[in-house]
Amino acid sequence: MKRIEQTFTDNRTKDETTLVAYITSGYPLLGETVGLISAAVEAGADVIELGVPFSDPLGDGPVIQATGQAALDTGTTAAATLDVVAEARAAGVEAPIVLMGYCNPFLRYGLTQLYDDARSAGVDGFVVPDLPVSEGAEWLAHAEANELGQTFFTAPGSSAERIAASAAASRGFLYVLAANGVTGVRKDLDPGLDAYLERVRAAGDTPMAVGFGISRPEHVASLHGKTDGVIVGSALLQAIGAARDAAGRRQAVTGLISSLKAATR
């Protein structure tokens, strides 16, 4: 959690937007994930959000659904994902890594064991899209006990009270859903986004990162100063999926992340 806070603080000081890169663990192969994480970090990703695949990812659109299914087909689990993080740490990756995953695989692993193992592996926090604050007490207690982050969400339709509750409960950073709907590349950002970001900003000082539909440098540039961070997922996975081989996939990550990074300043 310290690493997450430090990253957001440093970037605030530099007046740069923190770039969060979402990668599905085990996509397309478990053996490539550490390499893709390294490539993203070397190209300028400040935070890695590593997705633990689930059979029924209700918050995800077709792109991330497909990567998750491919990862499951090759045997990617929560345990294997923790190993990936440990390997990434051994390979010298120092950027914060948060695990993104739906409740059930985490519950099945067992929350006590999960948070303990996550801390040992070098994980910095958790992002659980089907866990609203009202269901999050037990998870938060584990996060606190292990000094890990726990990210909650705001949505465009969230009331002021709910935004405040999510911001107050979040440890590390708050995830600001830029749009209704599931994950996926969107051509334009919502016209009402600025006003919504101001409402979130007013709710407190927890670092906020905007995700859903962020895919182009123009999106990132237009959000400068309006949010602490941006999250890119589907666009990155699409780029990975379009490449032909492992080297091409690393290059695809480097290419997209560098161009997005340039837009954070």
Binding site: G59, N104, R108, P132
Partner: protein, 395 residues
Amino acid sequence: MNGRFGEYGGQFVAETLVGPLQELEEEYQKALLDPEFTAELDKLLKMFVGRPTPITELHRLGATENGVKLWLKREDLTHTGAHKINNSIGQALLARRLGKKQIIAETGAGQHGVAVAAACAYLGLEATVYMGRVDAERQAPNVQRMELLGARVELVDLGTATLKDAINAAIREWIARPDTTHYLLGSVVGPHPFPTIVRNFQSVIGREARAQFLEENDRLPDAVVACVGGGSNAAGMFSAFLDDPVRLVGVQAAGEGKGGQCGHAAPLLYGDPGVLQGTRTYLLQDDDGQIQLTHSIAPGLDYAGVGPEHSHYKDTGKVEYISASDNEALDAFVALSSQEGILPALESAHAVAGALKVARQCAPGSTVLVNLSGRGDKDLTSAMAALKQREENAR
């Protein structure tokens, strides 16, 4: 309403849906206190749905089992042919109060989809129904009915292309348009407040059946039996008997009848607690928490989860959960048709098959009340094919 059934239930959803769920709960609470709402619901249940549905005494089926008397609650006689319409009409009225004209729904057997289509047509709402492609094939007549009733049917190819996948598709659509759309969930599953709202709209089954049974028999039945897919017909039926000295039995789909983790749809018998589609409940899942493939000949029962209230009743022992296999359901489908002149839905045939098992354990002269949740016209093609296959396999 707190949305918990013991340690089950809850609201494990994307933040995007928390507001709309809260709005739904508040509107529902208001509606319950509004005499106009309850009067309109009662009127529609009577004049559109065709309630009350009768109870029917059986004369042959079950009589050989210890001289036990079986009675059926005839939800198959409702308009559109299954209990699903009780909930659809109620929620459609709620949607109208919420000012939401767009209705989305999932369907497995197609019965909920048909009920939603009919309710929406009658009340002037627009319906889109998500249905797994596999289910659409095995329940083709219901797809035609939905379309004729003015609904748009969206086929879902994800996963096993059955009920769970249709629910996923509907929830994703709801997340995209929460402000203008009402998700008319068809069973006592999903996030709070759905399990409570759907059960309450279905409780009319139990209320009627209990009073009718008392009227005919001057006593309560010894056992009440219903099939459990998501568990709405069972929850509605059982709700009237929870304080009575009556054995309550839910029948899940044993599919191929081999138990274990696959080849069936009986999470209450073989599953473990987990979180799926917004609720904590018993699930069929693997060691990594991935949801398992299910199988049942009855599409309405072919689901890896179950309503959280049933999970609670399982743990507390309030309700016993047993199962009936594809084969046993087919036998009951044929027996009820040929011996009693009533063609049950394959889902409801599981309840009948389960009731025959219960009857075998009852003292002579006992009575068993079975909720016949729907009629079987939709199943003719797939049931006849399965019967033929069975004959060929036996040769």
